[in-house]
Symmetry: C2
Subunit: 183 residues, 2 copies
Amino acid sequence: MGRWQSGARERLVMAALDLYVERGFDETTVAEIAARAGVTERTFFRYFADKREVLFEGSALLEQLVVQTIADAPVDASAFDAAIAGVRATREFLVDRDFSRRRAAAIDANASLRERELLKLASLRDGVAAALRARGADELTAAVAADAAGSVFHHGFQRWIRGDSEDYSAALEQALAAVRGIR
Amino acid sequence: MGRWQSGARERLVMAALDLYVERGFDETTVAEIAARAGVTERTFFRYFADKREVLFEGSALLEQLVVQTIADAPVDASAFDAAIAGVRATREFLVDRDFSRRRAAAIDANASLRERELLKLASLRDGVAAALRARGADELTAAVAADAAGSVFHHGFQRWIRGDSEDYSAALEQALAAVRGIR
């Protein structure tokens, strides 16, 4: 996300994440976020529809990128290989580990945000399964390949933000090897 | 679940599920559920702490059964095979397709119930991963095996309640074959 942020926007994101972790999402107001970022509330609303959007605005773009990459994968790629091409495309997106860590900490600290995150991930899996069916995979094959790719994405991401791997790309490949090793 | 229900309890469950589907979970009161089941509100509260419990009371028992089965699996079973033994143990639990269908329809119709269901499934996966680590699996292996077993459970269950397979056990084995076929 980092590469698209600059100035006021970036300060707003960092101020919001700090406050969500320190005080809790529910207890934080837009006025407080704006004050900490040194801008007006009006500036906040120029960038974000509400305080939840600071956390979830990237989800739809991410899903679009993943689904498009699957559609563009070689026609003879297996369902799982096409799904993995989609997962690898998230490397474009996940370049700012500090942001990703803070975002994850803010979400983990709040049950309703955790539920929302799970719903977004479920939507991403549904989008991947639909993209695989559009390539000709049968329903069950598409569904289990989407789940397995989701597992690679989730655990690769977790390894990266926890620092088990310095590099997001390497973390994804470690998770992929583990999934391929299931017996 | 059916085999443990009888009389007032079973009527309460069916009345609640009918009302959640017809009117929506949020719009249904305990008084209405009790009236439709032909019992008092007091009887409702003898069986259930609240109206959400009608849907989720089985989750903790299910997790306990799955985790215990994994702990009891042969020491030389792979992490995935142990997790699949846990999934197969759910056959004890899921014997009443009509109940399972109604429950799924009630949950699908309400965003907050869907979020809650996803949270329970995430908790089940965490429980499975912990049980696999307790058997000596490393963290990543345990996590991806738990995800893959969750995929078998979810899609086996869906095939059964949708009627793609008449038999829950056969549906699980079809989903397992699809997961093992991932390349």
